[in-house]
Amino acid sequence: MSEAVDEMIADVVDGGEVRNHLGLIAAMTREFTATRDADVMAKTGLERITKYVGAEASSLFLIDDNGKELVCSACSGPVDITGLRIPADAGIVGRVYNERSGQMVRDVTKDADFGAMVDEQTGFTTKSILCAPLSLGDECLGCIEIINKNTGDGLFEADDLTLLETLAGAATLAIHNFRLTQQVVAQERERHELELAAQIQRQLLPPAGGPEFPVHGINMAARSVSGDFYDILPLADGRIWFNVGDVSGKGMNAALLMAKTSSLFRCLAKATDSPGRLFDAINSELCETGTHGMFVTMAGGLFDPATGKILMANAGHEPPLLLDGYGEQFTFFEAEAPPLGIMAGIAGPEGYPSQEIDLNGGSFYIFTDGLTEATTFGGGMLGIDGARALIREHAEESPDLQLNSITGAVRLPGQSLRDDLTMLIIQDSGTAEEKAAAAAPAPVSDDVVSGQILRIRVPAKANRLKVIRAGTEQAAAFCEADEAWTVDLVMAVDEACQNVIRHAYVGWDEPGDIVVDFIRDRDRLIVHLMDFADPVDQSKIKSRDLDEVRPGGLGVHLIKSVTDEAIFVDPPEGVGNLFKLTKRL
C-alpha cells in the first residue's frame, strides 16, 4: 500500500494534477486504518503530507487532557520538536486551534502571533506557515502545521491550504478511530484482569471436605469478583476454624479487601485458639492500613466435632441460625460487636466478645445478606423468615445438597444475583441418645386473647410521635408486657412511623394521616401502620445501619432487631401502604 501512495505522490508532484488529491486521501485513509501504532501512523502520515504539499517541515499538535496545552506528538523535517508543549492560546497553532479554521501565514514576519522562540532554540528559520485544525464536530483534537514551501519563493499559496484542510480531515478521523480502538482494547484488558482476579479469588476459598466432614460452604458472586468469603481450616487436633464474611460495597475494591481479610484470618488463626482475640487482631490490622470507608462483617470461630460445641465471635454480621436436631426450633445469635475495620482498639484484653454454642445434634447456618435479601420467584425479598423456611424445608438433605438447594431457590433463571451470596453449614452428628435427650420444644399456649386493642389516627407529623409512643405504651400495658418488651415495641413503632413521616408524603402541601392499629393475635401483638400516600418502592428500603458508622439509616435495623417480623403487606382498598410489625409477647 505504501508503494501505491508513493507512486501517487510522485505522480501528483510530477503531473501537478489536483484530481489526484482524492485518490491520495483514500489511499492514506486506508493506510491509517491498517496501522495500530499511533506514533508510526502520525509520523508516516505527516511525511506523506509534507512531501505531497512540497514543504520543508511539518508537525502534528494534539491538545492535552486538560485542554490547556498543545503538545507536538509527531513531526517531520530537519528539527525534531516532538514533545514540545505550547499554551493552547499561543502562537499561530493556538490561534487555529481556538478559531477552528485553517489559516495561511504567507510571511511569518508580518504576523504578530508568530512566536520566534522555537526558531531561536533550534536554529531553524520559519518563513511561511500553513496550519489546519483537526476538527471533529464541536471538538478540536489539535492542528497540523506545515512550514516553508520547497518551491518558488518558499511561501504558500491558497490552494495549499485547501489541500491541507482536506488531509487534516482524514487525519482527524484516523486519530479518532485510533482512540476508540484504544478504549475498546483497554476495556477488554480490564475484563480479562477482572476474570483473573475472580479466578484467584475462587482459589482463596477452601477445598470441599468429604461428605463426612462436618463443615461445608458455598460462595456465589453477583459479579465476576465477590465481596463475600468463607473459610474452613481444620486443625491437627480435630477442631475446625470457620468463618463467613461480607465486605461492604462491591467490585474490585471490595474484592481486594475480602482477599486481605480472608488471608489475615487464615494466617492469624494459626497463632491463637481464641476467636475473640483473632477478631481483635484482624480488626487492628485492617484499621492500621485503612479501608477507605469500607468495612467487613464477619462471624467465625472454632468448632469442636468431639463436643459439638462452637466458640464464635460475631462482628456485625447477620445473625447465624441454629436449627435443633429435630429440625424444628431455630435459635439465632445476634452480633455482639461492630464490624471489622471501622475503629481499632474497641475490644478489651480478651478481644471481641465470643459466645459458646452447643449444637446438640443440630445444624448451624451462617450466611450473608445475599441470602436474606435475595429476590424470590414471587418477586419479593426472601427475608429472614423466608430463609428459615428454606433451611427447614431442606434440613433433611446432605449439607452440600442443602447449600445447592437453598442457593438454587434464590437464583432466578436468566438473572444474575443481586448481591454476593455465601453460606456455611456446620453439622453436629450428635448421638441418637443425645438427640433424644434434647429438650422438647415448649408447646404454644392457647390461653390467650385476640382482637383489636387500639387505633391511633393522626397527621403524619413529627410532633405527633410523642402521642403515638404514649399510645403504644398503653397497648403494651394492656397486653401485660414487661418494661423491656415495651421499650422495644415503642422504638419499633416510632421508627416505623418516622419513615412514614419522612418519606410517605414528600411533595404534599400538607401531610396526610397515619393510622396505627394495635391488634392482639393470641401470643403476639401485631401493629399495622397505614398511610394514604403512593406505594413505596420496597427495594429502596434497606437496613443499612452497619454499612458504615455515619448518621442515618439506623431505623430499619432497629425495627428488625426488636420485632419478630416487619414487612410490607398488600394494603386494603384506599390505603397507600401497610407496614406490619409482629412481636411475640
Binding site: 415503642v490 418516622q498 448518621p551
Partner: protein, 110 residues
C-alpha cells in the same frame, strides 16, 4: 426537649432533657455541633433523656465523628436503660465513650 450548656472544670456539659426524636433531634444536632466548634471537651448528660430514636442517635454519631476529626473529647454520661438499648442495638455502645456520671466522664479524659 431542652438543651442546657454549662461549664465545669474547663469542660462543657450539655444536659439534654426530654425526648430526642425526629422532631427534636435537629436542635440537638445543631447544639452539639456548635458546642464542638468552640469547645474541645464535651460531655453529654443524658440523665433526663427518656427516649432517643435513630435520628437522635445519628446526631450523637455525627458529633462523635466531628470530635474525632478535631481530636476533641466527646463522651456520654448517665445514659438511661432505654437509651442504652438503642445504642447497643445499633452496636454503638462500644463506639461511644459512655460513663455513669459527668464526673466519671471528665475523670476518664483526665
Amino acid at each position: 426537649m431542652s438543651l442546657e450548656i454549662t461549664e465545669k472544670d474547663g469542660a462543657t456539659i450539655v444536659a439534654l432533657a426530654g425526648d430526642v426524636d425526629l422532631q427534636t433531634s435537629p436542635a440537638v444536632r445543631q447544639g452539639l455541633l456548635e458546642c464542638l466548634e468552640t469547645h474541645d471537651q464535651v460531655v453529654v448528660d443524658m440523665s433526663q433523656v427518656n427516649y432517643i430514636d435513630s435520628s437522635g442517635v445519628a446526631s450523637l454519631v455525627e458529633a462523635f465523628q466531628v470530635s474525632r476529626k478535631k481530636g476533641s473529647f466527646f463522651a456520654l454520661a448517665h445514659v438511661s436503660t432505654a437509651a442504652m438499648r438503642v445504642l447497643s442495638l445499633a452496636r454503638l455502645d462500644k463506639v461511644f465513650s459512655i460513663h455513669e456520671s459527668t464526673e466519671d466522664a471528665l475523670a476518664a479524659n483526665g
